[in-house]
C-alpha cells in the first residue's frame, strides 16, 4: 500500500518534484516567496534606499537615535528610525542584508563543492583515503560549529574572507558525510554493478549515474547550511570577531543596538533582528519542506 501511494508522489524530474513539493505546502510557498523577495532586495536594494548609510556625507550625527517615523534635520522620514550614528536604519538593514546573504551563500556554495568532492572521493576510492577523509569529518563534526569558528577567528582575526574561510571549514564536513553516505548506498545498488558490467567508464558511473542519485541530500543540506551560515556569521559579528565595522552585516547592526536596548531604544536592534529572523526562518522552512519531499529518511542536522 505504501508502494502504491509512493508511486503517485514520484515524478520524473528532481527539480520539478522539489518545486511541486514546495508549492504543495502554503507555508513553504510563502517562505519561498519571502526568500525570493529578500534576495531581490539584497541585489537591487542599495539602488532604491533613501541613503547610503556608509557615505559619511549623507549622515548627520544630529539625527542619531531617532525613533521610527521621525523626520530628519533635512526633512526625510526615517521609517524605521536611526542608529547611534544617525544612519537610516532601513537603508543600513538593506546593506546589511546584502552582506549577510552574500557571506552565507558564498560560504555555503564553496562548502558544498568541497564537501561533495571529498565525500564522493571517499565513497569511490574507499580504503585509506576514505578513512582519512572520514576521520577528518568526524573530527570536524565532533565540535560545535560556533566553537570552531570562534577558534579560527580568534587566531585569524577579523575580515570578510576570513569569515568565509571559517564558515567553509566548519561546514564542508556536513556535506562530505551526507554525500559519502548517499554514494555508498548507491554504490551498493545493482544498477551500478550493471553499469560496470556494461563496460562504462568509472568517471561516467560516478558522475553520470551515482552523483545525480545523491543530489537530494546535497540540496537539502545545502539549503539548511546557508541558513546556518547566515546565522553563524551574525553571531560572530555580534561577538565582535566576525566582520569588521567597515562591512556591517545584520549581526553587527543588532550589536550596535545592544547597549541602547536597556534604555528603551529598541528599534536599533529589533528591526535588523526581525529581518535576520525572517531570512533564516524562511530558508529553513523551505529546506525542511525539501527534506520532507526529497528524502524523508535524511538524518537530522
Amino acid at each position: 500500500m505504501t508502494a502504491l501511494t509512493h508511486r503517485f508522489q514520484e515524478s520524473q524530474s528532481f527539480w520539478a518534484r522539489s518545486l511541486r513539493g514546495i508549492l504543495g505546502s502554503p507555508k513553504a510557498t510563502i517562505a519561498l516567496a519571502i526568500c525570493l523577495i529578500l534576495i531581490a532586495t539584497a541585489i537591487f536594494g542599495p539602488a532604491l534606499v533613501p541613503q547610503n548609510p556608509y557615505d559619511l556625507a549623507a549622515i548627520d550625527f544630529f539625527d542619531a537615535r531617532l525613533p521610527p517615523m521621525s523626520n530628519s534635520m533635512s526633512g526625510t522620514t526615517y521609517w524605521l528610525g536611526t542608529d547611534g550614528q544617525g544612519r537610516d536604519m532601513f537603508s543600513a538593514m538593506v546593506y546589511g542584508l546584502r552582506t549577510s546573504m552574500g557571506v552565507g551563500l558564498f560560504s555555503g556554495v564553496i562548502a558544498l563543492a568541497v564537501g561533495t568532492a571529498l565525500g564522493l572521493t571517499a565513497a569511490y576510492y574507499g580504503g585509506r583515503i576514505d578513512t582519512l577523509i572520514m576521520r577528518l569529518v568526524d573530527l570536524m563534526l565532533g565540535f560545535p560549529t560556533i566553537l570552531v569558528a570562534l577558534m579560527l577567528l580568534a587566531l585569524l582575526g577579523q575580515g570578510v574572507w576570513k569569515v568565509v574561510l571559517a564558515l567553509v571549514i566548519v561546514q564542508w564536513a556536513q556535506f562530505a558525510r551526507a554525500v559519502r553516505a548517499a554514494a555508498l548506498i548507491e554504490r551498493g545498488k545493482e544498477y551500478v554493478e550493471a553499469a560496470a558490467s556494461l563496460g562504462l567508464s568509472k568517471p561516467r558511473i560516478l558522475f553520470g549515474h551515482m552523483l545525480p542519485n545523491c543530489l537530494p541530500p546535497i540540496i537539502v543540506i545545502g539549503t539548511l547550511q546557508v541558513a546556518n551560515a547566515i546565522s553563524a556569521e551574525a553571531t560572530l559579528s555580534f561577538l565582535g570577531i566576525g566582520l569588521p565595522i567597515t562591512e556591517p552585516s545584520l549581526g553587527l547592526l543588532i550589536a550596535n543596538g545592544y547597549q541602547t536596548l536597556l534604555s528603551g531604544q529598541y528599534w536599533i536592534s529589533v528591526y535588523p533582528g526581525l529581518l535576520l529572523l525572517a531570512l533564516v526562518f524562511s530558508i529553513n522552512i523551505v529546506g525542511d519542506r525539501l527534506r520532507e519531499v526529497l528524502n524523508p529518511r535524511l538524518s537530522e542536522r
Binding site: K27, F143, I146, A154, G251, I254, A255
Partner: protein, 324 residues
C-alpha cells in the same frame, strides 16, 4: 565492547594531540607569539627577557615540546589582565558555565521529548504542524538576538526577571549553585531558557523523526498483535529505540551548549568561561584564549567518549558484538 572503547579512547587522545598542535601552530606560527604572549606595554628589556624565558628563540619543534609539557602540567601561562595562571581563571569560571549548560539541557529534554512524541504520534495534524513550525523557528532564531529580546520583554518591559549576573548562590550537597536560592534561580531562568531553545528544537525533531521511523516497523505491529497496550508499546518499544540516537546527539549537544554559552553569557553577563573568552579575545589576553580552547576541547572529547560508551551500552547490537 572493550575494543570499541580502546578504539574510541585512542582516537580521543589523538584528537587532543591534534588540537594542541593546531592551537600551537595558530598561536606560535601564524600569529607573532611575541605579540600574543607578551603584553603590548612591556618595555624592550622586558620583551627580550620574556622571549628568552618563553624560549621563543628556539626551534619550533623544541617550542612545541615545551608547550606540550607545560600544557600537560596545566600551565598555559599567566593572564595579562588578571595576572594569575590562565588555567586557574578557567577553573574558577567553569562551574557557572556548567550549571547553565546542565539546566539548559534539562529544559531541552524535559520539554523536547514529550513534544516530539506528541508530534510524531499524530503526524500531519494541526498539533504536529504547530510544534514542528515552532521548532524550525527555534532553529532559526539568532541566539544572541533572542537573548536581547528576552531581556527587553522580561526585564525592561515587564520587569519580572533580572537581566544580568548570576545572583546569589547557595550550596546543595556541597556544590555551590544558583539553584539553591530564589535570587539565583531568578537570574538563571532567562539565560538558561535562551541557551535551551536551540537544543529544545533539536530534541523535538529528533524525537519526532525517531517516532515516525519506528512506528511503521514490523516489531511495533507485532507488539500490537501480542496484545500489548499502546502505553507499553510507546514507553518501552518505541522509547528504547529512539533513546539511542537521542543520547548520542544530546551528549554531543552538551558540548554545543558549552560553546554556545559564549553568546548567552555575553548577553546576560553570566560570569562563566564563555564571557571570559570573549573578554579575553577583546583585550588580546591570549594565554586565557589558549587555555580556554584546550580545556574546552579536552572536555569535549571526553564527553563524546562518554557518550559513545553509553551508546554502546544502550544498544545490544554493539554491546554484544564481540560475543558473537
Amino acid at each position: 565492547m572493550t575494543i570499541f572503547i580502546i578504539r574510541r579512547f585512542s582516537q580521543s587522545l589523538f584528537v587532543v594531540f591534534l588540537t594542541s598542535l593546531l592551537v600551537f601552530v595558530g598561536v606560535y606560527a601564524i600569529g607573532n607569539p611575541v605579540d600574543i604572549l607578551i603584553p603590548a606595554d612591556a618595555s624592550f628589556a622586558e620583551r627580550e627577557a620574556a622571549i628568552r624565558a618563553l624560549g621563543l628563540d628556539r626551534s619550533l619543534v623544541a617550542q612545541y615540546g615545551t608547550f606540550l609539557v607545560n600544557a600537560l602540567h596545566g600551565d598555559f601561562g599567566r593572564s595579562f589582565v588578571f595576572n594569575q595562571p590562565a588555567i586557574s581563571l578557567i577553573f574558577q569560571r567553569l562551574p557557572a558555565t556548567l550549571e547553565l549548560a546542565f539546566v539548559a539541557l534539562a529544559i531541552a529534554l524535559v520539554l523536547g521529548i514529550p513534544l516530539g512524541l506528541i508530534a510524531g504520534l499524530k503526524p500531519r495534524s494541526v498539533t504536529d504542524e504547530t510544534i514542528m513550525t515552532g521548532s524550525i523557528l527555534g532553529f532559526s532564531l539568532p541566539n544572541f538576538w533572542q537573548g536581547m529580546m528576552l531581556i527587553m520583554i522580561f526585564s525592561v518591559w515587564l520587569g519580572w526577571l533580572p537581566s544580568s549576573g548570576r545572583g546569589e548562590s547557595g550550596e546543595i550537597f556541597g556544590i555551590t549553585t544558583s539553584l539553591a536560592t530564589w535570587d539565583g534561580l531568578a537570574h538563571l531562568i532567562l539565560p538558561a531558557t535562551n541557551l535551551a531553545l536551540f537544543q529544545l528544537s533539536l530534541v523535538i525533531r529528533l524525537t519526532r523523526t525517531g517516532v515516525r521511523e519506528t512506528m511503521p516497523l514490523d516489531f511495533i505491529k507485532f507488539a500490537r498483535a501480542k496484545g500489548l497496550s499502546e502505553r507499553r508499546i510507546i514507553s518501552v518499544h518505541v522509547m528504547k529505540n529512539i533513546l539511542i540516537p537521542i543520547v548520542t546527539v544530546v551528549g554531543m549537544e552538551f558540548g554545543s551548549l558549552i560553546a554556545f554559552a559564549v553568546v548567552t553569557e555575553t548577553i546576560f553577563a553570566w560570569p562563566g568561561i564563555g564571557k571570559l573568552l570573549i573578554d579575553s579575545i577583546t583585550v588580546l589576553d591570549r594565554p586565557v584564549v589558549v587555555a580556554y580552547l584546550l580545556v574546552v576541547v579536552t572536555m569535549f572529547i571526553f564527553i563524546n567518549l562518554a557518550v559513545d560508551i553509553v551508546y554502546s551500552m544502550l544498544d545490544p547490537r554493539i554491546r554484544l558484538s564481540e560475543t558473537q
